[in-house]
């Protein structure tokens, strides 16, 4: 037990190190940008501000200090919970993120769950009957969808269901002209539908392919052979031996795919103008809203790195033969 404890603690320490590194790199990248923060702040008022006033703004913001001082200050206020002010949305970054996060987390959480459940079921089915026509269809689907551009799938769905069939709304998280407070749960679901389908349809592919391979491996193993010899029915074998053994690897892949999920949601939210974290990322990047962009980068890095760490730990739980020392020295 001491071994596991040390391993997990080591992984968490590493997670903290990675996050600190990401914060530093993201800060340097933002500083490196040719987008001048004062110009971005002033916007159209730029013509009315003289050099003295610019110098005053720079001084107030601490832009005249060396990079290391700026970074320390930023990191200190970040750790104390002050994320700064977003000029794009004219409110504090923490408020913007918590509001955006609430609409995104529903979308991404549901897409994550659906990709996992449907992908896993398809993978089990395909892997239990390798070579059958259902297996071929599932494989073809997964293979093509794994190569498809997310935003194009979103555009296709928009063309078919919103423009062609008029079943789903074209944009946003609620009907136009209705206050966000007055949008009913059903309307929310209606607007969520297409982005959700986009992300799920794509997420299914990877899990299905991965589970299928695992399942074929399991069906060729000795314990399945013995189960067959004992007279187990195919359904029995798939449920008792296949699903149980394939579940952990699938969950591992699911945790490791959080980065792809977030990337996909940026694209899907842009196509459907869904007001989530993804569209806030784009807005902050285009308008040079550095505090918001940095905060989102660190938040997503936290989720994705935590997902990677969980996947890594699960990987060892699934296969205790891989000792951490060996793995860290590269026997992957």
């Amino acid at each position: 037990m001491g071994y596991w404890k040390a391993f997990v603690i080591g992984r968490i320490a590493r997670l903290a190190l990675v996050l600190a590194g990401v914060a530093a790199v993201a800060f340097i990248l933002a500083k490196f940008s040719p987008v001048d923060p004062i110009n971005a702040y002033l916007g159209p008022d730029i013509a009315r501000v003289g050099p003295e006033q610019r110098a005053l703004i720079a001084e107030k913001w601490g832009l005249d200090q060396p990079l290391s001082v700026q970074f320390t200050k930023w990191l200190a206020s970040l750790l104390s919970g002050d994320l700064g002010w977003s000029i794009t949305y004219n409110s504090s970054v923490a408020d913007v993120i918590s509001e955006r996060f609430r609409s995104s987390v529903v979308l991404m959480g549901l897409a994550w769950a659906f990709s996992g459940l449907i992908g896993f079921s398809l993978g089990i089915w395909a892997g239990a009957h390798p070579g059958s026509w259902t297996d071929r269809i599932i494989r073809l689907y997964s293979y093509v969808l794994a190569a498809a551009p997310t935003f194009w799938i979103a555009i296709l769905l928009l063309i078919v269901f919103s423009v062609g069939l008029r079943w789903t709304p074209v944009c946003c998280a609620g009907p136009i002209g209705v206050l966000p407070e007055d949008v009913t749960a059903l309307q929310k679901l209606h607007h969520l539908l297409l982005p959700l389908v986009t992300l799920s349809v794509l997420g299914v592919a990877q899990i299905a392919l991965h589970t299928r391979v695992k399942m074929i491996e399991i069906m060729q193993s000795d314990f399945v052979l013995y189960a067959k010899a004992q007279g187990g029915t195919p359904l029995d074998i798939v449920l008792r031996h296949g699903v149980r053994n394939a579940a952990l690897p699938a969950v591992t892949v699911l945790f490791a795919s959080l980065g792809e999920l977030f990337g996909g949601s940026i694209l899907a939210e842009t196509v459907f103008s869904y007001p989530g974290l993804g569209s806030a990322t784009i807005e902050s990047g285009i308008r040079g809203d550095v505090p918001l962009l940095l905060a989102i980068a660190i938040l997503t890095a936290f989720f994705v790195s935590a997902g990677n760490t969980i996947a890594d730990v699960l990987y060892h739980v699934a296969d205790p033969r891989i000792a951490p020392e060996r793995r860290m020295r590269g026997a992957e």
Binding site: F32, V144, P149, G259, E260
Partner: protein
């Protein structure tokens, strides 16, 4: 958008060498046709014709025309050729970074190994697209920024694969002999490891290609990539968004379809190459 080249069994197993070669040649022909077509066409295909604005697909304009009356087929081919060029550069740089870091990690000191592994974790710890946006933001957008952004985000997985490969080679007898002769680490890396890695590098390059293209298109679509004046697939699709509500479906449908086909071609070539070069697959 998933990278799958470390799990060889995930993609459909193409074990028949004849099938691989057949598909391979079709894919190569298709890609050559796109490049050559764009080159031969010059700027002639991109002229506007205000008499023929927003025409649906017909025999004279197979993919229809856009809001300025430009032929969508010509623009799509131009866009694909641009994508291929950018993908080629970005994937190439990525492979060079991956090889360099893998050699550094596997034959350098323990410190170097730990540092490389930390950078790998950091790069994989951010969503690809967020990192791409950050880098493109830092460089101020444009084609060069896209190439650099895509190149510096796609190397981690290949680095891990190459590093594991080198660690296996470390135990090989000829490496031990070379070491006992007093050859330096870098001599061994250059003369024994690098030649051995070439097949892996080529396969890695071909399999990185589709991801580079997809991420370039995504980044451009979001407005962080190639300048809007150029006919890139991402630009074509983001322009199409404004006309979809008016029922101009062909603007959004065909460029993406062609991108998908190009990506599948590269995937097929890459998986075919891997099957052919993988010694474990040779018993078939």
């Amino acid at each position: 958008m998933t990278i799958a080249f470390e799990k060889s069994a995930e993609a459909p197993s193409i074990n028949n060498a004849g099938l691989v070669l057949g598909g391979f040649s079709i894919a190569v022909l298709l890609l050559a046709a796109v490049t050559l077509g764009a080159w031969l066409m010059g700027a002639s295909g991109l002229l506007s014709d205000f008499q023929a604005r927003l025409q649906p697909p017909s025999s004279s304009h197979l993919f229809g025309t856009d809001m300025l009356g430009r032929d969508m087929l010509a623009r799509t081919i131009k866009g694909l050729a641009l994508s291929l060029r950018i993908g080629f550069l970005a994937a190439g740089i990525s492979v060079i970074i991956a090889t360099g870091l893998a050699i550094l990690a596997a034959s350098g000191s323990r410190m170097a190994d730990a540092a490389v592994s930390l950078v790998v974790d950091m790069t994989m710890g951010l969503p690809h697209l967020v990192l791409l946006i950050l880098i493109s933001f830092a460089l101020g957008g444009g084609t060069t920024a896209v190439v650099i952004a895509v190149a510096v985000t796609h190397w981690p997985r290949l680095t891990r694969i190459l590093r594991a490969e080198i660690l296996q080679l470390q135990a090989a007898e000829y490496v031990t002999v070379s070491r006992n002769f007093g050859k330096s680490r870098w001599y061994i890396a250059r003369h024994h490891f690098l030649p051995h890695l070439v097949p892996q590098m080529i396969v890695g390059f071909v399999l990185l290609f589709p991801h580079a293209i997809l991420h370039e298109a995504g980044l451009t679509f979001l407005g962080f990539g190639i300048e809007p004046s150029k006919p890139a697939i991402g630009i074509l699709l983001s322009e199409s968004m404004r006309y979809l509500m008016a029922g101009k479906w062909w603007l959004g449908c065909f460029p993406g379809l062609m991108l998908l086909i190009a990506v599948l071609c590269f995937d097929f070539i890459g998986n075919g190459l891997r099957t052919l070069t993988d010694p474990r697959g040779s018993q078939q």
